[in-house]
């Protein structure tokens, strides 16, 4: 946020907090409270819809996502307004809906796969949208967004350029980032560049794994994302800002790793049996 914007935001907030004028009779009923504004959490799904995703992978992904929505609905803390935004990238990039949709009303629209993998362009687009003036315009408190990337191959454009744009975005910096590589072609190291840590990168080689990984990551991330804090483990020590910095991202990494270890599905690999 630029200095100029910052200042005008501050002024407008100041303007808004002046002592209220006298209330009229209909307005002073202590029972006439309005709903408490919820904190908001946007979950971004970045989904590879390039041609290589065609067939079983895409079918599986669509099914899992349809099942996932009600599951996230249940996880969401009641005082958090969870919203979903889905950005798909193949030759072109496209948002499933033009704005993030509240989880209560979100309906998955089935995706189809074709074309090449413009991941860099997707990063650029995400960076442009992750701003107070665009997708993250909730007036009340926002949690850092959850950003979940799913891909089965190597980007066909210059993803580093896009990632650079993303890395300068504050929301991205604070955000909870996770990535899922699908099949043998996906490059975990490149995905770790995106998430900033290997712990939050998982890999699925089969349909069963894909379903499980998507659920594990999305549910864990939305749970952690809609929680305001992690309390200290060692109570004798006073917490400093450094202690808690990126605590959520670390926690996400740990939990994902723990859950991945429990994975015991051994069904047929995506890349075999064709």
């Amino acid at each position: 946020m630029s200095n100029k914007n910052n200042k005008s935001a501050q002024e407008s907030v100041k303007e808004n907090t002046r002592a209220s004028s006298l209330l009229d009779f209909d307005d002073d009923d202590p029972l006439g409270a309005t709903a408490v504004s919820k904190k908001s959490l946007v979950i971004f799904f970045l989904i590879d819809t390039s041609g290589s995703m065609k067939g079983k992978k895409m079918g599986e992904l669509n099914t899992v996502m349809e099942e996932l929505i009600p599951e996230i609905r249940r996880v969401g803390e009641a005082d958090t307004d969870v919203k979903i935004a889905v950005l798909t990238f193949s030759t072109d990039i496209a948002w499933m809906y033009s704005i993030p949709i509240s989880i209560e009303e979100f309906e998955w629209s089935r995706l189809e796969a074709s074309g090449v993998t413009s991941m860099g362009a997707a990063f650029q687009e995400l960076s442009a949208r992750m701003s107070r003036n665009s997708f993250l315009n909730s007036p009340s408190l926002s949690f850092a967004p959850v950003i979940f990337l799913m891909t089965d191959g190597y980007p066909s454009d210059d993803y580093r350029e896009g990632l650079k744009a993303l890395q300068s975005n504050s929301w991205y910096k604070f955000g909870l980032k996770a990535a899922l590589g699908i099949g043998n072609e996906a490059n975990d190291e490149m995905l770790a560049e995106f998430t900033g840590s290997k712990d939050t990168v998982v890999h699925a080689y089969s349909g069963g794994q894909l379903a499980q990984m998507i659920k594990v990551v999305a549910v864990t991330a939305s749970q952690i994302g809609s929680k305001s804090m992690t309390l200290s483990d060692e109570t004798n020590k006073e917490l400093t800002e450094e202690d808690v910095m990126t605590a959520k991202q670390k926690m996400l990494g740990q939990q994902i790793q723990e859950l991945v270890k429990q994975d015991d599905s051994n069904d047929v690999s995506f890349d075999t049996g064709w």
Binding site: T17, S20, L31, E77, K227
Partner: protein
């Protein structure tokens, strides 16, 4: 974590099996299932061991809680522990919260989602206190549950909005999340939300104790009245998003009350914190003072926080200062009625005069209007009973228009009647309200 399946049997520690019927919720510590056990429906909280620092310690504590039993029947207390499964998972059974109680979460957000029995569609149903009396009574009841818990030497490890269940018609309160209750000064490392957590605990400087509970109590009461977070104002909203550092800052080291009398930098923001802006000035000074003290001095000095006795006194006074205008029905606190002289209020809406009565145990006068109740604790300084009605202002059934006070207690009072003489007023009897009225309740005397 391992989820339970519908129809699955879960063995209890001391015999018997609970059968899983369906999942009813999921939270930060695990899932909650509706189960059947001994022909009754129960809630089974099934813990996710990965969410605990030390699940064995948690189980040990839970076992103690179950065997200690509930200190008060308003706690939805863990009743039965299950056996541990092979991979160490376990849960505990609690009674179901009756449907007449609403989660505080729904009260705060103003509605609940229910299934319409006719169409089976999900519909929103408003959730609102039906009377001012119920709202203030809910506050008193919350105070009382904290007292009962502390008297038993226990405290909350962690609270959130979902821990409170309230009957919006009567103000009755039930407390859930009791599996997180421990003896004082234990730290189970339970993670939670900063809202109810005392700053010294957020900062890792203290363990959960009676003092951290007093902080949580002030937050709960603030939310009942003002429907907002006492520390979330302009400063907090100005941040890009609520990161871990921000939480530490705004709920820990730099915690600043939104209504701090000497620092307005964290005031509520219109459009987001409208309730606090709207209601703050409608409450009497002693209410505002109590919250200012709790969230200014009480932020850094836990000893300065109000205890249950202080809160109870304040809220019993607030309840006694509700006026319902006999003519137009306007119901509000005395602070929102005009005062024409030291003994009379005037309804600002219809202009009707409302008389007051003075009780010897209070420094303030109590408004008198039809339907006004006097509680046992108000006429007996040795009583803690804030729910039993001992007297009520009623209209004489044989002489319409004549108002009086009916003795609903089991004792005999004395009252000065319009003939200038004191007469005995037994249980079920009454006496008219008049200019020279004096009442002798026994330990408390009252005078118009």
């Amino acid at each position: 974590m391992v989820n339970l399946k519908v129809g699955q049997e879960v063995e209890l520690e001391y015999g018997g099996k609970a059968i899983v019927k369906r999942e009813i919720g999921r939270g930060g510590q695990g899932s909650v299932y509706l189960v059947e056990y001994n022909g009754m429906e129960w809630a089974l909280k099934w813990y996710d061991s990965s969410k605990f620092r030390d699940i064995a310690e948690f189980r040990k504590n839970l076992k103690n809680i179950v065997s200690d039993g509930s200190p008060y029947n308003k706690f939805v207390w863990p009743k039965y522990l299950t056996k541990q499964s092979e991979d160490g998972q376990f849960g505990c059974l609690t009674e179901m919260v009756p449907e007449s109680f609403d989660s505080f979460v729904n009260i705060l957000r103003d509605f609940k989602v229910v299934t319409d029995p006719l169409t089976s569609h999900l519909v929103r149903k408003p959730v609102r206190f039906t009377r001012l009396y119920a709202m203030v009574t809910a506050a008193i009841n919350i105070v009382n549950t904290f007292r009962k818990l502390h008297t038993a030497g226990k405290c909350f490890q962690y609270l959130n909005d979902g821990a409170f269940f309230v009957n919006i018609e009567t103000g009755a309160v039930l407390i859930g999340s009791c599996d997180n209750i421990t003896a004082e000064n234990m730290d189970m490392g339970i993670t939670g939300k900063p809202g109810y957590t005392a700053p010294e605990y957020v900062l890792g400087k203290a363990k959960p104790s009676r003092q951290t509970d007093y902080y949580a109590l002030a937050v709960a009461l603030f939310k009942v009245l003002f429907r907002g977070d006492p520390l979330e104002g302009r400063k907090v909203v100005m941040d890009i998003c609520l990161t871990e550092e921000d939480v530490l800052k705004h709920y820990g080291e730099k915690a600043l009350f939104v209504m701090h009398p000497d620092d307005d930098s964290n005031r509520p923001v219109r459009g987001i914190h409208d309730n606090i802006i709207k209601f703050w000035d409608t409450y009497p000074e002693y209410i505002k003072d109590a919250f200012v003290k709790s969230f200014t001095e009480g932020i850094s000095d836990p000893e300065k926080r109000l205890d249950e006795d202080q809160w109870q006194e304040i809220f019993i006074r607030l309840r006694s200062e509700i006026i319902q205008c006999d003519i137009c029905g306007r119901t509000n606190f005395v602070s929102l009625f005009d005062k024409i002289d030291s003994t009379t209020y005037k309804c600002p809406k219809c202009g009707y005069d409302i008389a007051t009565i003075h009780f010897s145990n209070y420094d303030w006068r109590l408004p008198v209007y039809k339907g006004r109740k006097f509680y046992e604790c108000e006429i007996n300084p040795f009583s803690d009973d804030f729910l039993s009605v001992s007297g009520e202002v009623v209209e004489n059934k044989l002489r319409p228009g004549v108002m009086g006070i009916k003795n609903c207690s089991s004792r005999t009072w004395k009252a000065k009647m319009p003939d200038g003489q004191f007469h005995d007023v037994g249980p079920g009897k009454g006496f008219p309200l008049w200019q020279g009225l004096e009442i002798d309740f026994g330990r408390v005397k009252a005078k118009m």
